[in-house]
């Protein structure tokens, strides 16, 4: 709650530079890990369904 008693805006905290960098870093980490293991050549199990 802020000083006026209203709930804090989550929208502004989502846009804070720190949070933005954190989200982008997490995207990159996941993409890098996926890319690393993607080389094993696996396909989606139902492709060609």
């Amino acid at each position: 709650m802020n000083a006026a008693g209203a709930p804090k805006s989550t929208r502004s905290s989502n846009r804070s530079p720190g949070r933005l960098i954190g989200r982008m870093a997490w995207i990159i980490v996941r993409l890098m890990l996926a890319l690393l293991l993607m080389q094993r050549g696996s396909t989606f199990f139902y492709q060609g369904f």
Binding site: R15, W26, A34, L37, T43, F45, Y46, Q47, F49
Partner: protein
């Protein structure tokens, strides 16, 4: 033979990149429709190669048949040709040995390449929409974009033709938050598939060789793996849909938390469940109620569930195992409905609400539903044994 293009192929990602570059700046509805058709056809060409002209002839034929609305005779003929043609192609797609025996084995790479199991559902949806007068027949580009959406081609989600038409012809340009959410969704999908599902498979799968208690563990983990793999594809499709402003419905909502089978089918492969409800369950149930003057609603619902899930099993595969899987789910759904009805008669509304909210009952219900689904998937596990 070009039946499957792996998602690891660079060409696939180049087409996706082209879609972003080409579609994002376009603000003219017709140009955007044409550019989207171009991207869809390019992607389909990667999947079916030399069979693309044959596919285009098929789409053009369907386009012509959908326009046969002058007079009942022509519309009936169009309906018969479409349903007969789609049914025959579906059987040939699901039974490659039959198509080989009929000398039509060349059809299989084409049908597999476009994921015909999904395409045929879209054909049914557009045909019923047009036939019932809900929407006018689509233009050729519109039909290509609806039937062959590059990001939903291999495994859905299944967008209804009604929802497809409701989306804006030119969506608003995505803001930073939308782009970030879309990228998060694509990254989540790739992570689920190539890291989580892969590690689960590598660490725990014995390829069904285990016996005793570990067989039970493997059956449970197999369900989790199917979920991770399948929902990963949907995550990627939804992510690309958001990035490009293309309506792409959600297909999963934490299905492992379902407390009964009815809830499971509201959380798992949601767009398939909606298709079944729209085109099978509701029409069958309504037909039964009309014939029985509105009596025996529960019996009517049970019969409609039985037919719907037998056909759902057949859609997954024309094998005894898939028909048994469909029958099992129908039986589970009917049993759940009967149990709910029994509780309703036995308990007061307040006592029923207390019973359903009790943590132990909820936990037991989630556990039992998970086990039911996991064992039913094990039943058809042979179909995907090469993967697990």
């Amino acid at each position: 033979m070009l039946a499957v293009v792996p998602i690891t192929s660079l060409k696939v990602w180049l087409v996706l990149l082209l879609a972003v570059i080409l579609l994002t700046p376009l603000t003219h509805a017709r140009l955007r429709r044409a550019a989207l058709a171009l991207v869809n056809l390019l992607f389909v060409w990667l999947c079916v190669g030399e069979y693309l002209p044959a596919l285009l002839i098929g789409v053009a034929l369907l386009w012509g048949l959908l326009r046969l609305r002058r007079g009942r005779g022509a519309a009936l003929l169009g309906g018969l040709v479409i349903s007969g043609g789609v049914g025959a192609l579906f059987v040939l797609h699901k039974l490659p040995t039959l198509s080989a025996r009929a000398g039509l084995s060349q059809l299989n790479p084409l049908l597999s390449g476009i994921g015909f199991s999904y395409v045929c559902l879209r054909v049914i949806d557009v045909w019923r929409s047009v036939h019932s007068g809900l929407h006018p027949p689509p233009g050729l580009l519109e039909l290509i974009n609806y039937l062959l959406p590059f990001h939903m081609l291999a495994a859905g989600p299944i967008l209804s033709y009604d929802d497809y038409l409701k989306q804006p012809a030119v969506p608003p340009a995505p803001d930073t938050e939308t782009v970030l959410e879309a990228l998060e969704r694509i990254a989540a999908g790739l992570f689920k598939k190539f890291v989580l599902a892969y590690l689960l498979l590598e660490m725990f799968s014995t390829g069904w060789r285990a016996t005793g208690w570990y067989r039970w563990v493997e059956i449970n983990l197999h369900f989790l793996w199917v979920y991770l793999d399948f929902s990963a594809y949907s995550d990627i499709a939804v992510g690309f849909g958001r990035l490009l402003g293309l309506t792409t419905p959600e297909n999963f909502n934490r299905p492992y938390l379902a407390r009964n089978l009815t809830e499971f089918w509201e959380r798992w492969h949601i767009t398939l469940s909606q298709f079944i409800r729209r085109h099978l369950f509701v029409p069958l149930h309504m037909a039964f109620l009309r014939r029985s003057d509105g009596r025996h609603a529960l019996l009517g619902a049970s019969l409609a569930l039985l037919v719907s899930f037998l056909l759902c099993g057949a859609w997954h595969g024309l094998t005894g195992a898939f028909l048994a899987w469909g029958l099992l789910h129908a039986a589970g759904l009917v049993a759940g409905n009967l149990y709910k009805e029994w509780l309703r008669r036995r308990l007061s509304p307040a006592a029923l609400a207390r019973y359903q909210a009790a943590p132990l009952i909820r936990a037991l219900a989630v556990f039992a539903t998970y086990q039911f689904v996991a064992f039913s998937l094990w039943l058809v596990g042979n179909h995907w044994r090469a993967n697990w």
